[in-house]
Chain length 541, copies 2
Amino acid sequence: MFTACALAATVTAVSAKEIIHDAQFGILERQHGEKWAAQDKEIEKKLAEIREKNGGKRPNIVYILVDDLSYGQMGSRKMNHVMGVDTKNINKFANESLSLERMYTEPSCTPTRAAMMTGRHPIRSGSSEVKVTLVGEGLSKEEVTIAEVLSESGYSTAHIGKWHQGDIEESYPHNQGFDFAAFPAHQQVQLSLMTKEAALANNLFGWHDSMQNNDFVIDKTFRPNGMVTGLEARKGKKAKEVHMPAGHEWSQADYHAMNVRYQKQAIEQLQQLSKFDKPFYLQYWPLYPLNFAHDQTPNKSRNGGFMAEKLQLLDTWFGEFLAELDNLGIADNTLVVLMADNGLMYHYGGPSGLSELIYRGGKTDFLEGGIRVDAYVRWPDVIEANTAASDMVHVSDLFTTIANIGQATDNIPHDRVIDGIDQTALLLEGEHNGRRDYVYVYQGDRLAAVVKDEFKMHMPSPGMPGAAAPVFNVLRDPREENPHIGMALWSGASFQDMIKRHMMTIQKYPHLPLGKGQPYSGIENLRPETKKLVDDFMSWH
Amino acid sequence: MFTACALAATVTAVSAKEIIHDAQFGILERQHGEKWAAQDKEIEKKLAEIREKNGGKRPNIVYILVDDLSYGQMGSRKMNHVMGVDTKNINKFANESLSLERMYTEPSCTPTRAAMMTGRHPIRSGSSEVKVTLVGEGLSKEEVTIAEVLSESGYSTAHIGKWHQGDIEESYPHNQGFDFAAFPAHQQVQLSLMTKEAALANNLFGWHDSMQNNDFVIDKTFRPNGMVTGLEARKGKKAKEVHMPAGHEWSQADYHAMNVRYQKQAIEQLQQLSKFDKPFYLQYWPLYPLNFAHDQTPNKSRNGGFMAEKLQLLDTWFGEFLAELDNLGIADNTLVVLMADNGLMYHYGGPSGLSELIYRGGKTDFLEGGIRVDAYVRWPDVIEANTAASDMVHVSDLFTTIANIGQATDNIPHDRVIDGIDQTALLLEGEHNGRRDYVYVYQGDRLAAVVKDEFKMHMPSPGMPGAAAPVFNVLRDPREENPHIGMALWSGASFQDMIKRHMMTIQKYPHLPLGKGQPYSGIENLRPETKKLVDDFMSWH
């Protein structure tokens, strides 16, 4: 289709101190670089004034990332009525925030979280695949996370909740820049779907050993048993599995208790971190609303579906979290970001109570339904409340933007591509101050779509010419149902150029490998059943 | 399937003064009648107090009905960002209003408008079909419209804009209770789709004689020529076609001028009606946003599609209309209802700029996308601003509710079924005060679905048992994609009972026929080409 190397010479030369962006960003910088540099000076001044007001202290940053929701499911009263769920605390927060109405994520948990952590498309760090059971892999120690960037510049850091970046020691959050971390080793497939309750409640979906006859099972290792559950650790220390005695069978009750504990720990972290002189970076990544079984509590929502119920619960918890920020008197100097990590796990449509809404598709899809999420950013008196922007943002931009707001940009590595664009101007100056008009959309390892302005090209089938690729106008056709062939013809070449630039950048800065090692390395209290599981795994590695 | 007559004996006996509702409503009245009667007394007192505050004057009522929009396309900033349209005046109005988040209409223009006018399912008045060209039919003089109900009780009445209730004299608005009316004889297929501009702009859709070779045309009457365009008339007078000289070829420019004129006339009516001692009922039913061709004006919206552009224009016009209410000092004693008449004409998806959003389907469909619309009701200091209700409302309820608010209930006829429920309590007391939990959904003459609570049964295919009909939970599955067979089994019998009650009611109070006559009767200045058209029509009648 094209020869990337033929174009390599045109990659913009970067000085040692500059962040290396994708060549596509160079196209924008050539057009707006001077204006942006001038604006950045103004912003620097503004940030300095804010620090001065706060006794020289940089702002605290709270990043709350909610699992698997359709765009519209958080922060909109109207959509609440559609679903029969009342997210009143989130709606209030949205009214106090800048709504980023065109926030793109990756289509699944691990890649989105890796993108935010590293500021890089997950393909660059080998993090584009979602892992469910033991893999002996994880986020490499070579990657530089936002926690490391901020930590090195003097922030306290803590991670609470879902992590999903691997099962080897170097990948754990306390080895990736966090002073403290409480997190499950894996995710909700283990913690909620493979429970007896899920098997009982949704016999088509859940799986549990006791619900099977297993009469013909020859391989007992196909269904894992004894996986590590919740871990806690401090920076530089070994991790410890908590609240999980040897021989105990994990249940929905344990999953619920884990969720309750993370909520409690998130608030405890707020309380502790607010006492320090240092500013803090706290990320709270709840596991709810994702779950796979009704529980016995009476319905709180009109909807009553098992995910809808937990969305409503999460709203209450979010309200309590925000109230604690107020109680502690730190709300004003704290930037709070609330968003979803990707589209809904819509495969559980009906009974879960949550379903596709406006955008088509959900988790795992490259359609807007997989990658467009609700995102709200609050910073009282700094970010104008009750505003909204349609400027494009990619989740990796938070890495660069938060680094800038935390005066930690110098700690961003300069030897690799950073996809995240500094969007501080958008946050502080509002709509029309965004610096991105494109997104490369990956589905796992595959470049699946390219977004530019209101246009979105779905990659042509192999062998199909680029000009014939389906192109959609996502404003006029948000569900991506009516491709404009005519539009592809005028935009086809430009889209192909965008792909060339991206591939050229990859050629110059090749992808880095995922970390490798023994599963559950660095955990000091493995249960006997877990050791057996690791032995089984290592037997064929 | 069942014998309606066997059940007829159970129809609730009604006293001469009581409104006759569908037997299904009797089920609710038996359970809540006493409570509602007590609440009605309180409401009567409240309405009396409001009148007293306004020097004894009953409230003015403005009813604005917008053509063909998906739920979410008016009044939501978030949805504005999805579409790239800014309906800021409507959004502001929505914030000053009670949002009726579960307003059901009929799936097309004529039936929805007939339901509102008569308070009756359009099937009862023969108005369930949409007519495009000459039919010699229309709303019967036997029907009693809300305009007649209010007029008889002392309201001034005016109708501006789309009417679409027939082409015979008795069906025209000035013969159905309006003191003044300015309206097109037909609708947008004639006024915008069958223009040269539409044929040029969207060659697949528009039709215009000049764009065809017509080499094999034998029947010249298949494509009508010379249809009546805009009419104006006063009560008791003949109608007059306006701004349409004989021989003139109608164009998009004429259509635009007509839209501009109706906006101007709506405001003029406000100015005139506000001078009278009498309260007024003004209905303004714009033709835009429905149209079928881009015009030459530069894009005002980010979207730029030809319907999206006119939605944005309509928003500006609505802002001007509201501003005039303020200017005239009558905003406080005026109830304003803004809503869409049915789902989007989504058949023009891509280029129109507007498309399906949350709900599946659009105009003509019995799916929620065809019949769930945005609806906002404002009455300053009476209806609580910035509130929302998920209580079910059917467009026919406005008939009964507006009659009640206008103290004109006694003029509602007592010899026929009125489907409209009095929802004054919902408006004044807010969510949870609705008195409807069901809707019979017709698609033309066919009962296509039945809604009850959050459940919706799609009628089973002929011969299929009722228990096997697909039933959806519209909160958990708003797009009606995953029928719950299990749910149909528990609810099947109850849904069948609902249908029986409805059929029983029809048996007791049979449908009334549509009015019949000569097309364009009662118009004093028919053009020669129109007379030819009428001649052709009459030749086979």
